[in-house]
Protein backbone atom coordinates (compact mmCIF):
# COMPACT_ATOMS: atom_id res chain seq x y z
CA UNK A 1 0.00 0.00 0.00
CA UNK A 2 2.80 2.42 0.93
CA UNK A 3 4.58 1.64 -2.34
CA UNK A 4 1.37 2.29 -4.23
CA UNK A 5 0.82 5.63 -2.50
CA UNK A 6 4.44 6.65 -3.06
CA UNK A 7 4.22 5.68 -6.74
CA UNK A 8 1.07 7.72 -7.25
CA UNK A 9 2.55 10.61 -5.27
CA UNK A 10 5.62 10.64 -7.52
CA UNK A 11 3.50 10.76 -10.65
CA UNK A 12 1.38 13.50 -9.06
CA UNK A 13 4.47 15.65 -8.56
CA UNK A 14 5.79 14.89 -12.06
CA UNK A 15 2.39 15.71 -13.59
CA UNK A 16 2.23 19.04 -11.78
CA UNK A 17 5.82 19.85 -12.77
CA UNK A 18 5.25 19.06 -16.45
CA UNK A 19 1.93 20.92 -16.41
CA UNK A 20 3.60 24.03 -15.04
CA UNK A 21 6.37 23.82 -17.67
CA UNK A 22 3.83 23.42 -20.49
CA UNK A 23 1.66 26.31 -19.33
CA UNK A 24 4.62 28.59 -18.62
CA UNK A 25 6.12 27.62 -21.98
CA UNK A 26 2.95 28.21 -23.99
CA UNK A 27 2.28 31.58 -22.37
CA UNK A 28 5.71 33.08 -21.85
CA UNK A 29 8.05 31.53 -24.36
CA UNK A 30 6.32 30.62 -27.58
CA UNK A 31 4.47 33.77 -28.66
CA UNK A 32 7.59 35.90 -28.54
CA UNK A 33 7.51 38.91 -26.25
CA UNK A 34 4.53 38.67 -23.83
CA UNK A 35 4.76 42.37 -23.03
CA UNK A 36 4.45 43.32 -26.71
CA UNK A 37 1.65 40.76 -27.09
CA UNK A 38 -0.23 42.21 -24.12
CA UNK A 39 0.09 45.81 -25.25
CA UNK A 40 -0.93 45.13 -28.83
CA UNK A 41 0.55 46.26 -32.12
CA UNK A 42 0.40 50.03 -31.54
CA UNK A 43 2.42 50.11 -28.31
CA UNK A 44 5.44 52.40 -28.02
CA UNK A 45 8.79 50.69 -27.39
CA UNK A 46 9.32 52.47 -24.03
CA UNK A 47 5.88 51.36 -22.81
CA UNK A 48 6.77 47.79 -23.75
CA UNK A 49 10.13 48.11 -21.97
CA UNK A 50 8.39 49.44 -18.84
CA UNK A 51 5.93 46.54 -18.83
CA UNK A 52 8.77 44.09 -19.45
CA UNK A 53 10.50 45.36 -16.31
CA UNK A 54 7.26 45.33 -14.33
CA UNK A 55 6.55 41.76 -15.35
CA UNK A 56 10.13 40.75 -14.63
CA UNK A 57 10.66 39.77 -18.26
CA UNK A 58 14.16 41.21 -18.17
CA UNK A 59 15.07 38.31 -15.85
CA UNK A 60 16.38 35.00 -17.27
CA UNK A 61 13.75 32.39 -18.16
CA UNK A 62 14.70 29.98 -15.35
CA UNK A 63 14.48 32.72 -12.71
CA UNK A 64 11.08 33.76 -14.00
CA UNK A 65 9.81 30.19 -13.92
CA UNK A 66 10.98 29.64 -10.35
CA UNK A 67 9.59 32.98 -9.23
CA UNK A 68 6.24 32.05 -10.75
CA UNK A 69 6.14 28.58 -9.16
CA UNK A 70 7.40 29.60 -5.71
CA UNK A 71 5.02 32.57 -5.78
CA UNK A 72 2.08 30.29 -6.50
CA UNK A 73 3.11 27.88 -3.75
CA UNK A 74 2.89 30.82 -1.37
CA UNK A 75 -0.47 31.91 -2.77
CA UNK A 76 1.01 34.80 -4.76
CA UNK A 77 -0.22 34.52 -8.36
CA UNK A 78 1.21 37.85 -9.47
CA UNK A 79 -0.45 41.12 -10.34
CA UNK A 80 -3.15 41.43 -13.00
CA UNK A 81 -2.20 43.84 -15.77
CA UNK A 82 -5.72 45.07 -16.50
CA UNK A 83 -7.35 44.90 -13.07
CA UNK A 84 -4.26 46.17 -11.22
CA UNK A 85 -5.09 43.81 -8.36
CA UNK A 86 -3.43 40.58 -7.23
CA UNK A 87 -4.54 37.62 -9.35
CA UNK A 88 -5.20 35.66 -6.16
CA UNK A 89 -7.94 38.14 -5.24
CA UNK A 90 -9.53 37.85 -8.67
CA UNK A 91 -9.48 34.06 -8.35
CA UNK A 92 -10.82 34.13 -4.79
CA UNK A 93 -13.83 36.18 -5.91
CA UNK A 94 -14.71 33.92 -8.80
CA UNK A 95 -13.95 30.50 -7.40
CA UNK A 96 -17.08 30.83 -5.26
CA UNK A 97 -19.10 30.60 -8.42
CA UNK A 98 -17.15 27.96 -10.36
CA UNK A 99 -16.53 25.49 -7.56
CA UNK A 100 -20.11 25.40 -6.21
CA UNK A 101 -21.34 25.08 -9.80
CA UNK A 102 -19.12 22.06 -10.45
CA UNK A 103 -20.12 20.42 -7.15
CA UNK A 104 -23.80 21.14 -7.72
CA UNK A 105 -23.56 19.55 -11.17
CA UNK A 106 -21.66 16.56 -9.76
CA UNK A 107 -24.39 15.95 -7.18
CA UNK A 108 -27.14 16.28 -9.78
CA UNK A 109 -25.32 13.99 -12.20
CA UNK A 110 -24.91 11.32 -9.49
CA UNK A 111 -28.51 11.68 -8.33
CA UNK A 112 -29.78 11.16 -11.89
CA UNK A 113 -27.31 8.48 -12.95
CA UNK A 114 -27.46 6.08 -9.99
CA UNK A 115 -31.18 5.29 -10.06
CA UNK A 116 -31.21 5.31 -13.87
CA UNK A 117 -28.24 2.94 -14.15
CA UNK A 118 -29.45 0.58 -11.41
CA UNK A 119 -32.97 0.50 -12.83
CA UNK A 120 -31.70 -0.17 -16.37
CA UNK A 121 -29.44 -3.00 -15.17
CA UNK A 122 -32.22 -4.60 -13.15
CA UNK A 123 -34.54 -4.50 -16.21
CA UNK A 124 -31.91 -5.58 -18.72
CA UNK A 125 -33.32 -5.89 -22.25
CA UNK A 126 -36.81 -4.78 -21.23
CA UNK A 127 -38.63 -1.60 -22.14
CA UNK A 128 -37.31 0.40 -19.14
CA UNK A 129 -33.70 -0.50 -19.98
CA UNK A 130 -34.12 0.30 -23.69
CA UNK A 131 -35.73 3.66 -22.88
CA UNK A 132 -33.01 4.69 -20.43
CA UNK A 133 -30.22 3.57 -22.77
CA UNK A 134 -31.85 5.50 -25.63
CA UNK A 135 -32.04 8.58 -23.42
CA UNK A 136 -28.36 8.25 -22.50
CA UNK A 137 -27.45 8.10 -26.24
CA UNK A 138 -29.14 11.47 -26.63
CA UNK A 139 -27.56 12.78 -23.42
CA UNK A 140 -24.05 11.91 -24.63
CA UNK A 141 -24.62 13.52 -28.04
CA UNK A 142 -26.13 16.81 -26.82
CA UNK A 143 -23.73 19.79 -26.69
CA UNK A 144 -24.15 21.07 -23.11
CA UNK A 145 -24.00 24.77 -24.05
CA UNK A 146 -26.84 24.24 -26.51
CA UNK A 147 -28.83 22.34 -23.91
CA UNK A 148 -28.20 25.32 -21.62
CA UNK A 149 -29.68 27.66 -24.24
CA UNK A 150 -32.75 25.43 -24.58
CA UNK A 151 -33.17 25.42 -20.77
CA UNK A 152 -33.03 29.22 -20.79
CA UNK A 153 -35.60 29.36 -23.58
CA UNK A 154 -38.03 27.08 -21.73
CA UNK A 155 -37.53 27.81 -18.03
CA UNK A 156 -36.33 31.41 -18.04
CA UNK A 157 -37.92 33.05 -21.06
CA UNK A 158 -41.19 31.13 -21.45
CA UNK A 159 -42.01 29.86 -17.95
CA UNK A 160 -40.08 32.54 -16.04
CA UNK A 161 -39.17 30.09 -13.25
CA UNK A 162 -35.51 31.08 -13.28
CA UNK A 163 -33.51 34.08 -14.37
CA UNK A 164 -31.79 33.79 -17.74
CA UNK A 165 -28.37 34.54 -16.32
CA UNK A 166 -26.28 36.44 -13.83
CA UNK A 167 -25.39 35.65 -10.24
CA UNK A 168 -26.69 37.57 -7.19
CA UNK A 169 -23.86 36.54 -4.83
CA UNK A 170 -23.97 34.34 -1.74
CA UNK A 171 -25.62 36.90 0.58
CA UNK A 172 -28.86 35.09 -0.11
CA UNK A 173 -27.86 31.42 -0.47
CA UNK A 174 -31.29 30.34 -1.74
CA UNK A 175 -31.18 32.87 -4.60
CA UNK A 176 -27.57 31.97 -5.34
CA UNK A 177 -28.41 28.26 -5.60
CA UNK A 178 -31.44 29.08 -7.72
CA UNK A 179 -29.33 31.01 -10.20
CA UNK A 180 -26.88 28.10 -10.40
CA UNK A 181 -29.63 25.52 -10.97
CA UNK A 182 -30.08 25.80 -14.75
CA UNK A 183 -26.30 25.93 -15.37
CA UNK A 184 -25.81 22.91 -13.12
CA UNK A 185 -28.50 20.92 -14.93
CA UNK A 186 -26.96 21.78 -18.31
CA UNK A 187 -23.53 20.70 -17.09
CA UNK A 188 -24.80 17.58 -15.34
CA UNK A 189 -26.96 16.02 -18.05
CA UNK A 190 -24.27 14.76 -20.46
CA UNK A 191 -22.17 13.54 -17.52
CA UNK A 192 -25.19 11.82 -15.98
CA UNK A 193 -25.73 9.98 -19.27
CA UNK A 194 -22.15 8.68 -19.23
CA UNK A 195 -22.33 7.79 -15.54
CA UNK A 196 -25.63 5.93 -15.95
CA UNK A 197 -24.10 3.80 -18.72
CA UNK A 198 -21.05 3.00 -16.57
CA UNK A 199 -23.26 2.19 -13.58
CA UNK A 200 -25.42 -0.13 -15.70
CA UNK A 201 -22.56 -2.05 -17.32
CA UNK A 202 -20.62 -2.29 -14.07
CA UNK A 203 -23.71 -3.67 -12.34
CA UNK A 204 -24.37 -6.14 -15.15
CA UNK A 205 -20.78 -7.40 -14.83
CA UNK A 206 -21.35 -7.89 -11.11
CA UNK A 207 -24.66 -9.69 -11.61
CA UNK A 208 -22.79 -12.34 -13.64
CA UNK A 209 -20.30 -12.99 -10.83
CA UNK A 210 -20.20 -16.18 -8.75
CA UNK A 211 -20.82 -14.40 -5.46
CA UNK A 212 -24.16 -13.15 -6.72
CA UNK A 213 -25.12 -16.70 -7.72
CA UNK A 214 -24.05 -17.84 -4.23
CA UNK A 215 -26.14 -15.11 -2.64
CA UNK A 216 -29.11 -16.14 -4.76
CA UNK A 217 -28.51 -19.84 -3.91
CA UNK A 218 -28.53 -18.91 -0.23
CA UNK A 219 -32.07 -17.75 -0.84
CA UNK A 220 -31.64 -14.02 -1.28
CA UNK A 221 -34.21 -12.45 -3.57
CA UNK A 222 -33.00 -10.90 -6.82
CA UNK A 223 -33.66 -7.45 -5.41
CA UNK A 224 -31.74 -8.15 -2.19
CA UNK A 225 -28.78 -9.68 -4.05
CA UNK A 226 -28.71 -6.63 -6.28
CA UNK A 227 -28.81 -4.08 -3.49
CA UNK A 228 -26.77 -5.86 -0.80
CA UNK A 229 -24.01 -7.31 -2.96
CA UNK A 230 -23.94 -6.12 -6.55
CA UNK A 231 -24.43 -2.36 -6.13
CA UNK A 232 -21.71 -2.03 -3.52
CA UNK A 233 -19.15 -3.78 -5.68
CA UNK A 234 -20.27 -2.05 -8.85
CA UNK A 235 -19.53 1.30 -7.21
CA UNK A 236 -15.75 0.91 -7.57
CA UNK A 237 -15.48 1.75 -11.30
CA UNK A 238 -18.29 4.27 -10.89
CA UNK A 239 -16.27 6.10 -8.24
CA UNK A 240 -13.39 6.54 -10.70
CA UNK A 241 -15.69 7.99 -13.32
CA UNK A 242 -17.20 10.39 -10.77
CA UNK A 243 -13.71 11.63 -9.95
CA UNK A 244 -12.85 12.11 -13.61
CA UNK A 245 -16.15 13.90 -14.13
CA UNK A 246 -15.25 16.52 -11.59
CA UNK A 247 -12.56 17.75 -13.96
CA UNK A 248 -14.97 17.73 -16.91
CA UNK A 249 -17.45 19.69 -14.84
CA UNK A 250 -14.91 22.24 -13.68
CA UNK A 251 -13.54 22.70 -17.21
CA UNK A 252 -16.97 22.44 -18.84
CA UNK A 253 -18.18 25.13 -16.46
CA UNK A 254 -15.98 27.59 -18.36
CA UNK A 255 -18.33 27.38 -21.33
CA UNK A 256 -21.58 27.12 -19.37
CA UNK A 257 -20.58 30.26 -17.44
CA UNK A 258 -20.53 32.05 -20.80
CA UNK A 259 -24.09 31.00 -21.57
CA UNK A 260 -25.44 32.22 -18.22
CA UNK A 261 -23.16 35.25 -17.78
CA UNK A 262 -21.89 33.82 -14.49
CA UNK A 263 -18.92 35.69 -12.98
CA UNK A 264 -16.78 32.57 -12.52
CA UNK A 265 -13.29 31.47 -13.49
CA UNK A 266 -14.40 30.83 -17.08
CA UNK A 267 -15.44 34.43 -17.60
CA UNK A 268 -12.24 35.56 -15.93
CA UNK A 269 -10.23 33.49 -18.42
CA UNK A 270 -12.09 34.87 -21.44
CA UNK A 271 -11.99 38.46 -20.25
CA UNK A 272 -8.27 38.08 -19.62
CA UNK A 273 -7.74 36.51 -23.03
CA UNK A 274 -9.44 39.39 -24.81
CA UNK A 275 -7.63 41.93 -22.60
CA UNK A 276 -4.36 40.03 -23.28
CA UNK A 277 -3.87 39.78 -19.52
CA UNK A 278 -1.64 36.73 -19.79
CA UNK A 279 -0.65 36.58 -16.10
CA UNK A 280 -4.27 35.96 -15.17
CA UNK A 281 -4.76 33.36 -17.94
CA UNK A 282 -1.59 31.54 -16.90
CA UNK A 283 -2.51 31.39 -13.22
CA UNK A 284 -6.16 30.42 -13.69
CA UNK A 285 -5.24 27.67 -16.15
CA UNK A 286 -2.57 26.37 -13.78
CA UNK A 287 -5.05 26.42 -10.90
CA UNK A 288 -7.61 24.44 -12.94
CA UNK A 289 -5.01 21.90 -14.05
CA UNK A 290 -3.71 21.63 -10.47
CA UNK A 291 -7.21 20.95 -9.14
CA UNK A 292 -7.90 18.33 -11.79
CA UNK A 293 -4.61 16.50 -11.22
CA UNK A 294 -5.03 16.54 -7.43
CA UNK A 295 -8.64 15.32 -7.66
CA UNK A 296 -7.54 12.47 -9.93
CA UNK A 297 -4.89 11.59 -7.37
CA UNK A 298 -7.49 11.61 -4.59
CA UNK A 299 -9.69 9.29 -6.69
CA UNK A 300 -6.80 6.85 -7.10
CA UNK A 301 -6.30 6.89 -3.33
CA UNK A 302 -10.00 6.34 -2.66
CA UNK A 303 -9.95 3.52 -5.19
CA UNK A 304 -7.10 1.82 -3.32
CA UNK A 305 -8.89 2.30 -0.03
CA UNK A 306 -12.08 0.57 -1.17
CA UNK A 307 -10.50 -2.15 -3.33
CA UNK A 308 -8.39 -4.49 -1.20
CA UNK A 309 -7.14 -6.29 -4.34
CA UNK A 310 -5.35 -3.15 -5.48
CA UNK A 311 -3.71 -2.72 -2.08
CA UNK A 312 -2.56 -6.34 -2.02
CA UNK A 313 -1.09 -6.08 -5.52
CA UNK A 314 0.89 -2.97 -4.63
Amino acid sequence: MIRYVLGRLTSLVISLFVASIVIFGVIEVIPGDPAAFMLGVNARPDTIAALRAEMGLDQPLITRYFDWVTGMLQGDFGQSWTYKTPVSELIADRIWVSLPLALYALILSTLIAFPAGIYAASRRGRAGDVTIMGATQLGVAIPNFWFAMILVLIFAINLRWFSAGGFPGWDDPAQALKSLTLPAIALALPQAAILARVMRSSLLDMLGEDFIRTARAKGLSRRKALWKHAVRNALIPVLTIIGLQFSFLLAGGIIIEQVFFLPGLGRLIFQSISARDLIVVESVVMLLVFTVIVVNFAVDMAYAAVDPRLRAKA
Binding site: S15, L138, W146, M149, I255, V285
Partner: protein, 271 residues
Protein backbone atom coordinates in the same frame (compact mmCIF):
# COMPACT_ATOMS: atom_id res chain seq x y z
CA UNK B 1 -26.86 -5.34 -39.86
CA UNK B 2 -28.04 -3.94 -36.57
CA UNK B 3 -30.45 -1.07 -36.12
CA UNK B 4 -27.64 1.06 -34.65
CA UNK B 5 -25.53 0.56 -37.75
CA UNK B 6 -28.34 1.46 -40.13
CA UNK B 7 -29.54 4.60 -38.29
CA UNK B 8 -25.96 5.64 -37.50
CA UNK B 9 -24.67 5.33 -41.04
CA UNK B 10 -27.77 7.02 -42.46
CA UNK B 11 -27.38 10.05 -40.16
CA UNK B 12 -23.62 10.28 -40.71
CA UNK B 13 -24.03 9.88 -44.48
CA UNK B 14 -26.64 12.65 -44.52
CA UNK B 15 -24.24 15.19 -43.01
CA UNK B 16 -21.29 14.05 -45.11
CA UNK B 17 -23.53 14.39 -48.18
CA UNK B 18 -24.57 17.92 -47.12
CA UNK B 19 -20.91 18.85 -46.72
CA UNK B 20 -19.93 17.38 -50.09
CA UNK B 21 -22.88 18.96 -51.92
CA UNK B 22 -21.96 22.35 -50.40
CA UNK B 23 -18.82 22.35 -52.55
CA UNK B 24 -20.99 22.27 -55.67
CA UNK B 25 -24.21 23.95 -54.63
CA UNK B 26 -25.97 25.60 -51.70
CA UNK B 27 -29.54 26.97 -51.88
CA UNK B 28 -28.21 30.52 -51.32
CA UNK B 29 -24.83 32.20 -51.18
CA UNK B 30 -23.96 32.62 -47.49
CA UNK B 31 -21.65 35.54 -48.09
CA UNK B 32 -24.42 37.80 -49.43
CA UNK B 33 -26.32 39.56 -46.67
CA UNK B 34 -30.04 40.19 -47.10
CA UNK B 35 -30.95 42.29 -44.06
CA UNK B 36 -34.62 43.01 -45.02
CA UNK B 37 -35.13 39.24 -45.04
CA UNK B 38 -33.60 38.64 -41.60
CA UNK B 39 -34.80 36.18 -38.93
CA UNK B 40 -37.46 34.61 -41.18
CA UNK B 41 -39.03 31.44 -39.84
CA UNK B 42 -38.66 28.29 -41.94
CA UNK B 43 -40.66 28.61 -45.17
CA UNK B 44 -40.75 27.26 -48.71
CA UNK B 45 -38.15 29.88 -49.74
CA UNK B 46 -35.79 29.24 -46.83
CA UNK B 47 -36.42 25.69 -45.64
CA UNK B 48 -34.73 26.29 -42.27
CA UNK B 49 -35.32 30.05 -42.06
CA UNK B 50 -32.81 32.90 -42.10
CA UNK B 51 -30.40 34.35 -39.52
CA UNK B 52 -29.90 37.90 -38.22
CA UNK B 53 -28.22 38.94 -41.48
CA UNK B 54 -30.88 37.31 -43.66
CA UNK B 55 -28.58 34.45 -44.64
CA UNK B 56 -30.19 31.10 -45.45
CA UNK B 57 -29.70 28.79 -42.46
CA UNK B 58 -29.81 25.57 -44.52
CA UNK B 59 -26.92 26.87 -46.64
CA UNK B 60 -25.01 27.80 -43.47
CA UNK B 61 -25.65 24.34 -41.99
CA UNK B 62 -24.26 22.77 -45.18
CA UNK B 63 -21.14 24.96 -45.08
CA UNK B 64 -20.83 24.40 -41.32
CA UNK B 65 -20.96 20.63 -41.83
CA UNK B 66 -17.89 21.02 -43.99
CA UNK B 67 -16.01 22.85 -41.20
CA UNK B 68 -17.10 20.44 -38.46
CA UNK B 69 -16.24 17.33 -40.47
CA UNK B 70 -12.90 18.71 -41.67
CA UNK B 71 -11.79 19.78 -38.17
CA UNK B 72 -12.89 16.55 -36.46
CA UNK B 73 -11.52 14.32 -39.22
CA UNK B 74 -8.10 15.99 -39.24
CA UNK B 75 -8.00 15.87 -35.42
CA UNK B 76 -8.67 12.12 -35.57
CA UNK B 77 -5.98 11.92 -38.26
CA UNK B 78 -3.43 13.55 -35.94
CA UNK B 79 -4.41 11.18 -33.13
CA UNK B 80 -4.09 8.09 -35.35
CA UNK B 81 -0.95 9.17 -37.20
CA UNK B 82 0.96 9.72 -33.96
CA UNK B 83 -0.91 7.52 -31.48
CA UNK B 84 -0.93 4.24 -33.41
CA UNK B 85 2.85 4.17 -34.12
CA UNK B 86 3.53 5.10 -30.48
CA UNK B 87 1.25 2.31 -29.29
CA UNK B 88 2.82 -0.22 -31.68
CA UNK B 89 6.29 0.84 -30.52
CA UNK B 90 5.36 0.55 -26.84
CA UNK B 91 3.93 -2.93 -27.43
CA UNK B 92 6.94 -4.08 -29.48
CA UNK B 93 9.30 -2.89 -26.75
CA UNK B 94 7.03 -4.03 -23.93
CA UNK B 95 8.55 -3.53 -20.48
CA UNK B 96 11.37 -1.33 -21.75
CA UNK B 97 12.11 2.21 -20.63
CA UNK B 98 10.64 3.46 -23.92
CA UNK B 99 7.35 1.67 -23.20
CA UNK B 100 7.28 3.19 -19.71
CA UNK B 101 8.00 6.67 -21.08
CA UNK B 102 5.28 6.45 -23.73
CA UNK B 103 2.70 5.22 -21.25
CA UNK B 104 3.54 7.77 -18.55
CA UNK B 105 3.43 10.50 -21.19
CA UNK B 106 -0.04 9.23 -22.10
CA UNK B 107 -1.19 9.36 -18.48
CA UNK B 108 0.02 12.92 -18.32
CA UNK B 109 -1.95 14.12 -21.32
CA UNK B 110 -5.00 12.27 -19.98
CA UNK B 111 -4.67 14.08 -16.65
CA UNK B 112 -4.95 17.46 -18.35
CA UNK B 113 -8.39 18.99 -18.68
CA UNK B 114 -8.47 18.96 -22.49
CA UNK B 115 -10.87 21.85 -22.90
CA UNK B 116 -8.74 24.17 -20.76
CA UNK B 117 -5.61 23.34 -22.74
CA UNK B 118 -7.47 23.73 -26.03
CA UNK B 119 -8.57 27.18 -24.86
CA UNK B 120 -5.01 28.01 -23.84
CA UNK B 121 -3.58 26.93 -27.21
CA UNK B 122 -6.14 28.80 -29.29
CA UNK B 123 -5.93 31.86 -27.03
CA UNK B 124 -2.18 32.19 -27.38
CA UNK B 125 -1.70 31.07 -30.98
CA UNK B 126 -4.83 32.77 -32.22
CA UNK B 127 -8.31 31.47 -32.88
CA UNK B 128 -8.42 29.53 -36.11
CA UNK B 129 -9.65 26.23 -37.48
CA UNK B 130 -6.05 24.95 -37.75
CA UNK B 131 -5.32 25.65 -34.08
CA UNK B 132 -8.62 24.02 -33.12
CA UNK B 133 -7.57 20.92 -35.07
CA UNK B 134 -4.22 20.81 -33.26
CA UNK B 135 -5.79 21.41 -29.86
CA UNK B 136 -8.33 18.61 -30.35
CA UNK B 137 -5.83 16.34 -32.11
CA UNK B 138 -3.30 16.40 -29.28
CA UNK B 139 -5.81 14.80 -26.93
CA UNK B 140 -6.58 12.07 -29.48
CA UNK B 141 -2.96 10.86 -29.47
CA UNK B 142 -2.98 9.10 -26.06
CA UNK B 143 -6.38 7.56 -26.81
CA UNK B 144 -5.02 5.76 -29.86
CA UNK B 145 -1.62 5.03 -28.30
CA UNK B 146 -3.17 3.32 -25.29
CA UNK B 147 -5.73 1.40 -27.32
CA UNK B 148 -3.11 0.23 -29.83
CA UNK B 149 -0.73 -0.95 -27.12
CA UNK B 150 -3.49 -2.73 -25.24
CA UNK B 151 -4.65 -4.55 -28.37
CA UNK B 152 -1.15 -5.29 -29.66
CA UNK B 153 0.25 -6.80 -26.44
CA UNK B 154 -1.83 -10.03 -26.48
CA UNK B 155 -1.12 -10.42 -30.22
CA UNK B 156 2.61 -10.52 -29.52
CA UNK B 157 2.00 -13.72 -27.51
CA UNK B 158 0.28 -15.48 -30.42
CA UNK B 159 1.81 -18.27 -32.48
CA UNK B 160 1.63 -16.48 -35.82
CA UNK B 161 3.76 -13.66 -34.46
CA UNK B 162 6.21 -16.20 -33.09
CA UNK B 163 6.34 -17.76 -36.58
CA UNK B 164 7.08 -14.35 -38.10
CA UNK B 165 9.88 -13.82 -35.58
CA UNK B 166 11.33 -17.22 -36.37
CA UNK B 167 11.35 -16.16 -40.02
CA UNK B 168 13.65 -13.34 -38.95
CA UNK B 169 11.24 -10.43 -39.40
CA UNK B 170 12.12 -7.31 -37.45
CA UNK B 171 9.81 -5.92 -34.76
CA UNK B 172 8.92 -3.01 -37.03
CA UNK B 173 7.95 -5.29 -39.92
CA UNK B 174 5.92 -7.52 -37.60
CA UNK B 175 4.15 -4.47 -36.17
CA UNK B 176 3.25 -3.16 -39.61
CA UNK B 177 2.57 -6.42 -41.45
CA UNK B 178 0.94 -8.53 -38.74
CA UNK B 179 -0.11 -6.47 -35.73
CA UNK B 180 -1.58 -3.49 -37.55
CA UNK B 181 -4.00 -5.44 -39.80
CA UNK B 182 -5.30 -7.25 -36.72
CA UNK B 183 -6.17 -4.07 -34.84
CA UNK B 184 -7.60 -2.10 -37.77
CA UNK B 185 -11.22 -2.82 -36.82
CA UNK B 186 -10.65 -1.57 -33.31
CA UNK B 187 -9.09 1.64 -34.67
CA UNK B 188 -12.01 2.23 -37.03
CA UNK B 189 -14.48 1.94 -34.16
CA UNK B 190 -12.44 4.22 -31.88
CA UNK B 191 -11.89 6.61 -34.78
CA UNK B 192 -15.66 6.97 -35.17
CA UNK B 193 -16.06 7.73 -31.46
CA UNK B 194 -13.21 10.28 -31.45
CA UNK B 195 -14.69 11.79 -34.60
CA UNK B 196 -17.96 12.43 -32.78
CA UNK B 197 -16.12 13.87 -29.76
CA UNK B 198 -14.20 16.08 -32.20
CA UNK B 199 -17.46 17.43 -33.64
CA UNK B 200 -18.59 18.36 -30.11
CA UNK B 201 -15.22 19.91 -29.24
CA UNK B 202 -15.14 21.94 -32.47
CA UNK B 203 -18.64 23.21 -31.78
CA UNK B 204 -17.67 24.19 -28.21
CA UNK B 205 -14.50 25.98 -29.34
CA UNK B 206 -16.21 27.93 -32.09
CA UNK B 207 -19.11 28.72 -29.74
CA UNK B 208 -16.68 30.55 -27.46
CA UNK B 209 -15.07 32.20 -30.47
CA UNK B 210 -11.89 30.10 -30.53
CA UNK B 211 -12.67 27.94 -33.57
CA UNK B 212 -13.03 28.71 -37.26
CA UNK B 213 -13.27 32.46 -37.87
CA UNK B 214 -15.72 34.33 -40.09
CA UNK B 215 -16.51 34.12 -42.95
CA UNK B 216 -16.04 30.33 -42.52
CA UNK B 217 -19.40 28.97 -41.37
CA UNK B 218 -19.45 26.85 -38.23
CA UNK B 219 -22.26 25.36 -36.18
CA UNK B 220 -20.77 26.49 -32.88
CA UNK B 221 -20.61 30.11 -33.97
CA UNK B 222 -24.13 29.97 -35.38
CA UNK B 223 -25.21 29.02 -31.84
CA UNK B 224 -23.18 31.86 -30.32
CA UNK B 225 -24.85 34.31 -32.71
CA UNK B 226 -28.25 32.84 -31.88
CA UNK B 227 -27.83 33.20 -28.14
CA UNK B 228 -29.25 36.71 -27.94
CA UNK B 229 -31.90 35.93 -30.55
CA UNK B 230 -33.25 32.77 -28.98
CA UNK B 231 -36.37 34.46 -27.58
CA UNK B 232 -37.39 36.21 -30.81
CA UNK B 233 -36.22 33.62 -33.36
CA UNK B 234 -35.82 30.23 -31.66
CA UNK B 235 -35.11 28.48 -34.98
CA UNK B 236 -31.71 30.22 -35.17
CA UNK B 237 -30.66 28.26 -32.06
CA UNK B 238 -32.66 25.09 -32.63
CA UNK B 239 -31.40 24.28 -36.13
CA UNK B 240 -27.60 24.32 -35.53
CA UNK B 241 -28.10 22.55 -32.18
CA UNK B 242 -30.06 19.73 -33.76
CA UNK B 243 -27.45 19.52 -36.52
CA UNK B 244 -24.72 18.92 -33.91
CA UNK B 245 -26.94 16.55 -31.91
CA UNK B 246 -27.89 14.40 -34.91
CA UNK B 247 -24.38 14.31 -36.35
CA UNK B 248 -22.87 13.24 -33.01
CA UNK B 249 -25.70 10.80 -32.33
CA UNK B 250 -25.27 9.32 -35.81
CA UNK B 251 -21.52 8.83 -35.34
CA UNK B 252 -21.99 7.29 -31.87
CA UNK B 253 -24.59 4.84 -33.20
CA UNK B 254 -22.32 4.10 -36.16
CA UNK B 255 -19.44 3.39 -33.76
CA UNK B 256 -21.57 1.05 -31.64
CA UNK B 257 -22.96 -0.64 -34.72
CA UNK B 258 -19.52 -1.08 -36.31
CA UNK B 259 -18.13 -2.54 -33.09
CA UNK B 260 -20.79 -5.24 -33.05
CA UNK B 261 -20.62 -5.82 -36.78
CA UNK B 262 -16.82 -6.01 -37.02
CA UNK B 263 -16.48 -8.31 -34.02
CA UNK B 264 -16.66 -11.79 -35.53
CA UNK B 265 -17.53 -13.36 -32.17
CA UNK B 266 -20.69 -11.29 -31.80
CA UNK B 267 -21.57 -11.83 -35.47
CA UNK B 268 -21.22 -15.61 -35.20
CA UNK B 269 -23.29 -15.62 -32.02
CA UNK B 270 -26.06 -13.82 -33.83
CA UNK B 271 -26.29 -16.05 -36.90
Amino acid sequence: MSRNLIIGSALSALFVALAVISFLWTPYDIETLDIPNKLQSPSALNLLGTDQFGRDILSMIMMGARTSIAVALLAVGIGMALGIPLGLLAAARHGSLLDELIMRGNDLVFAFPSLVIAILITAVFGASAVNAIIAIGIFNIPVFARLTRGAALPLWERDFILAARVCGKSATRISVEHILPNITNLMIVQGTIQFSLGILAEAALSYIGLGAQPPTASWGRMLADAQTLVSIAPHTALVPGFAILFMVLGLNLLGDGLRDWLDPRIRVART
